[in-house]
């Protein structure tokens, strides 16, 4: 008897995962050009990391260490 709720949970999980994959598929496949562009961008340093470094340097200049 206790297997029934587990079966329902499994069915719900499968439906949920299937829906996510379906949504990914219907939003369209990524192009090679898109893939190359994002590889180039994320291969370099992050803008946020650069911004943090610049902010820390400004704080050192303004406030001292």
């Amino acid at each position: 008897m206790s297997d029934i709720p587990e079966a329902i949970a499994l069915a719900k999980l499968l439906l949920d995962i299937g829906e996510r994959i379906y949504r990914t598929i219907i939003t369209g496949s990524a192009s090679d050009e898109e893939a190359r562009a994002i590889r180039r961008v994320l291969g370099a340093e992050l803008a946020a990391v650069l911004a943090k470094r610049a902010a820390d340097a400004k704080a050192h200049r303004t406030l001292g260490t």
Binding site: E6, L10, L13, L14, D16, I17, G18, R20, I21, R23, T24, I25, T27, G28, S29, A30, E34, A35, I38, R39, V41, L42, G43, L46, A47, A48, V49, L50, A51, K52, A54, A55, D56, K58, A59, H60, T62, L63, G64, T65
Partner: protein, 181 residues
């Protein structure tokens, strides 16, 4: 009673379901390389990470200016600035961890495309680590008060659904970012 002989249900689900789904996807797309969904999820995740990075960079610069002004006003100096910026340090750490796990996912995808042995399982493991680091990134965004971009929430769901929970313990350093938040 009889369950002691079987694997825990969540382990079977987490490992089995993604493998079955990716296997089906491979069949549907003709085998011999990654299914389109693996490429799409990888690229969409990278794009979402890039968008988030730009949004964080802008918000962080504004927050840093406010933190400098506040530290000047109350005389707490650089320590006061650093204390106010702690959530942003955790956030940039979480972003960097996610970038690293994403790069690993992308490299695994290339290996899979090249037909390397283990390319598929390598991609699934790396993608699962990316899912873990995205969860840590989401928490860090909330702690810093930055709205979580919808694209991050979407890809976090998708990559988790596709890759399952194959990340080896400790590999997703993103989980260590929880300590910052």
């Amino acid at each position: 009673m009889t369950r002691s002989n079987s694997l825990p249900g969540c382990v079977v689900l987490c490992l089995g379901v993604p493998v079955v789904l990716l296997g089906l996807a491979a069949v549907l797309t003709g085998c011999g390389g990654p299914p389109a969904i693996a490429t799409t999820v990888t690229v969409r995740t990278g794009t979402a990470l890039h968008e988030t990075d730009l949004a964080v960079a802008t918000a962080l610069t504004e927050a840093a200016d406010r933190a400098i002004a506040a530290a000047q006003a109350d005389g707490s100096g650089f320590d006061g600035y650093a204390r106010r910026m702690a959530p942003w340090s955790a956030l940039t750490d979480a972003l960097e961890v996610t970038r690293q796990t994403w790069l690993a996912t992308d490299r695994s995808l290339s290996a899979w495309e090249a037909g390397d042995d283990g390319g598929q399982i390598g991609w699934m493991r790396a993608a699962a680590c990316t899912a873990g680091s995205l969860a840590a990134l989401t928490r860090a965004l909330r702690v810093a008060g930055v709205p979580v971009p919808a694209s991050i929430a979407d890809v976090a769901e998708q990559i988790t659904g596709v890759a399952g929970a194959l990340c080896s313990p400790g590999a997703a350093q993103g989980t260590s970012a929880e300590g910052h938040s």
